[in-house]
Symmetry: C2
Subunit: 521 residues, 2 copies
């Protein structure tokens, strides 16, 4: 055992569980049918403990003897492992969110049964015993990355928590991979054990800085099937930089927020921000850095590189998140300013970060990117053409339903092979509804910002087409709206005018002609 | 002033505001542009105070001089008044839910702009100043029915609260109609004043019996523009009785709940029930009366006749609701057992009854009736053919998203003029999505119960068609699913198989041929 590893395990009665070679963990994994592991958006997930399973499967052609796994994995953690498992045909089912191309390919080929659910609901759905693929509410084996183990055997995660506390609670066996390549993150986390109804009580978080739990995840010693030293990790490339168009989107949003402050609808420090991942989100964060807002707080799922300068300039005073997802350079800066960030960041489990109770209480400002939006205010976050799953819903529904301001931002168009404006992200009707017109406040594209608050569907339609649609698609969408309205007025059904026989004509045209630009309806 | 009225107004400094004739209130109403009033599902709404406006409008052809009103009205209160206003062309816009045929006709003819929103979100959207039709966050005049006025001028509502506290808070002027035909309901209500973010704190309700507020609605004396004696009220006909089919639905649900208790997924007293209005809901309540459950609690929006026997037999121990909506006979029984019911019923405002925080904490069992359901688990609660508004979303989204068990019950078919099985309530895709596949647990029809928990879309599809669809539609729906699956498998997009060009073919066929029973896809 290395001294590094020894120094991380304060619970000496767990030392006999330490194994030198990951192969020693293989029997436990082979005896399992349902498996879970930790990690969120690419950080703090176990790799070494799972590797022998991949090797064994490859050598023994496991799937042929029908040994497939049901995966209950924190959102998008451990993509490398998961991708390999999918390629080997080892995954029978998956829940709740993934970013692996290999996995989504098998989901769409019908090989993997994928249950797409709200990140904030997933932990309690497991606790409720709602998954028949669990073993009567239990998971056979859960593999967790730790940055330390405390005296009482409780687990200090690394740079993310996600759904790890619930996975450990529901696991029959726990394998711990202690990552000695990162510092102990003790003190960053706030972990709670949530009782089930009718025994629940209020979550006493009234500000992103409130702590209500403990700094580590309780884990009965008897559950621990093995401990191994690991070095998995923090291998994230730098975040995508914004361009002129995403900067335009950020500009609209900052201008809007400034206006809301001026109107007295938002305090000067705004309200806690939730922001997703990606180019647009990064531009928005950069835009805030150049704004006049001060002492802003953050209540989100993922902290990215873009946030760091805002901490450094004191624009952000405190942030609560379920994961810190930085680039190599970002983590270097983070580690070099450890105490500074530790006093400003709290890591919480998903059931808290994505809790409707807290999001609504805090009155969050929520920013998310959809796949497509429609003229009446619905959003598709998951399925291309209503059928092909991309990644999953994630936490978008938790936030968009409960935020004070629910903002969706996207480019107004996307290119196809034959037409640089081939796809309009604003359509008559989204092909899959993940968020309804009842939940949306603001749509933004590089073209402009549509304020949908308090409007009727027809008013929304005009606002969205005028402000958000690309000029190439404005006449097409207005034409749809007007034709639909005329037809529906004749039949007394013009609350939200549609022509069901033409509603997806733009999508069908894309399939046949490589562009949504149709000549006529 | 009658002694009756005098006895209801404990605040003597308000006595000079009492007017003998409703016409004296007319100038206040005529000077207003935005109006709100109290009431929920037909009980406790003001009639007499608003009558002069209707008379005046009729005599002076008000709409011709373009005097229209923006209505911010508690859900479906005051339907008689509202219908008359719609017929007179007096309504410019309406929010958030209505049950008037005249109003929905004008919504669908494009005359009334209708904003359909969650009942639990509506009060805070007003407080957030999200409605441009308010006067910078204010409502010109609010008319409230009271059963008494306390010494401090605060208002004791009658048999409902709904959104009255927020309306009074946001009103520039308040007109109080004191209903002396009903007893003072003092002691039934639990009223809270909710601060806005960032000043919100937890709502300390951990059981339906918890009280966290006051027994009346605060109202500054200076706001009171007039007080009038009224007698509006409790004119509800007896609830629709169940039939063999709705009893079958109830049977499936009771059997399912018993099974959940047996499996240890529900406690023996179940969890707080939410139930809607209508024939199916009544049958379910009757079914519970014949079950073995005891000490059940209720957390709902409306208490109907069907609940009374369950109180009487001690099956229900406590109920929280925003309104008591009984038939004449029901209210007679209620008044005759006043103390008994008062010790078991708490009336709360909508922002509490429909609070995601509390619904999720309590782990409610939520039962609602949709317009149509689809094979992958989406529900339409509002718009026929995606365009024609019926009543609105109501509180369905507040409950279905946050309940522990989200149950949708409907007949599997509805008749058309030419085909007794002309409409299938299970379709390939609902024409308007109000609730997504991510929120649904159980679908029930008279045919059976589909348990969707933890399933992937394709698994759900088979479960729903097999268990819930009418035998006349099972082959049609299976055929759609299989054809869609084959096509999508070929193109690697078979997570949730659809054929966009045929997705609404059953609805189109209904329009042209009077039935959804198509010969082929």
């Amino acid at each position: 055992m290395t001294t590094q590893l020894l120094s991380r395990i304060a619970c000496k009665s767990l030392l006999p569980k330490v194994v030198a070679q990951p192969e020693q963990l293989l029997p436990t994994l082979l005896k399992s049918k349902s498996i879970g592991w930790s990690g969120f958006t690419g950080v703090t997930y176990p790799i070494r403990a799972l590797q022998p399973l991949l090797d064994y499967a490859e050598q023994n052609r496991l799937p042929q003897v029908d040994h497939k796994y049901d995966l209950f994995v924190c959102a998008s953690g451990g993509t490398i492992t998961e991708s390999k498992m999918a390629e080997l045909g080892l995954i029978s089912s998956r829940v709740p969110y993934q970013v692996s191309k290999s996995v989504s390919k098998k989901i769409n080929s019908g090989e993997i049964a994928f249950t797409d659910t709200h990140l904030g609901m997933f932990p309690q759905e497991m606790q409720y015993n709602h998954y028949r693929r669990m073993n009567n509410g239990r998971i056979d084996t859960v593999v967790v990355e730790a940055s330390a183990i405390k005296e009482d055997g409780s687990i200090v995660p690394g740079a993310s928590i996600c759904v790890t506390p619930e996975l450990v609670q529901l696991a029959d066996k726990v394998i711990i991979e202690v990552n000695t390549q990162i510092p102990s993150f003790e003190g960053f986390h706030d972990v709670v054990t949530l009782p089930l109804p009718p025994h629940r009580t209020p979550l006493r978080v009234s500000s992103p800085s409130d702590r209500i739990g403990q700094t580590s995840i309780p884990c009965p010693l008897s559950k621990v099937a093995g401990i191994i030293e690991g070095s998995s990790g923090l291998f994230i490339s730098a975040n995508a930089k914004g361009d002129a168009a995403t900067k335009a989107i950020a500009g609209w949003i900052v201008e809007f927020l400034e206006h809301e402050v001026q109107m007295g609808r938002l305090p000067e420090a705004l309200l806690p921000l939730q922001s997703g991942i990606g180019k647009i989100a990064n531009s928005v964060i950069e835009g805030l850095d150049q704004s006049n807002f001060k002492n802003v707080s953050v209540w989100t799922e993922v902290l990215q590189d873009g946030f760091l300068p805002l901490f450094d300039s004191n624009k952000i005073s405190v942030a609560s998140s379920t994961s810190i997802r930085l680039s190599t350079e970002g983590f270097e800066h983070f580690f070099n300013n450890w105490d500074f960030y530790k006093s400003r960041i709290i890591l919480r489990q998903q059931s808290i970060t994505n809790s409707p109770e807290i999001i609504r209480r805090l009155g969050c400002i929520s920013l998310n990117t959809p796949l497509e939006l429609d003229i009446y205010g619905h959003a598709n976050s998951t399925c291309v053409n209503g059928s092909r799953m991309l990644n999953g819903l994630g936490g978008s529904g938790d936030f968009l339903r409960n935020a004070k301001l629910s903002i969706m931002h996207t480019m107004s168009t996307r290119p196809t092979k034959s037409d640089p404006l081939g796809i309009s992200c604003i359509v008559p009707r989204v092909t899959h509804v993940d968020h309804t017109e009842h939940d949306m406040d603001i749509f933004v594209t590089e073209q402009g910002l549509a304020d949908l608050r308090g409007l009727s569907p027809k008013e929304r339609s005009i606002e969205i087409i005028r402000k958000c649609a690309h000029p190439a698609y404005q006449p097409i969408l207005f034409d749809y709206f007007q034709q639909a309205e005329q037809k529906c007025l004749k039949r007394g059904c013009a609350h939200e005018p549609h022509m069901l026989d033409k509603i997806f004509k733009m999508h069908e045209h894309l399939e046949t002609d490589g562009t949504m630009r149709i000549q006529k309806w």
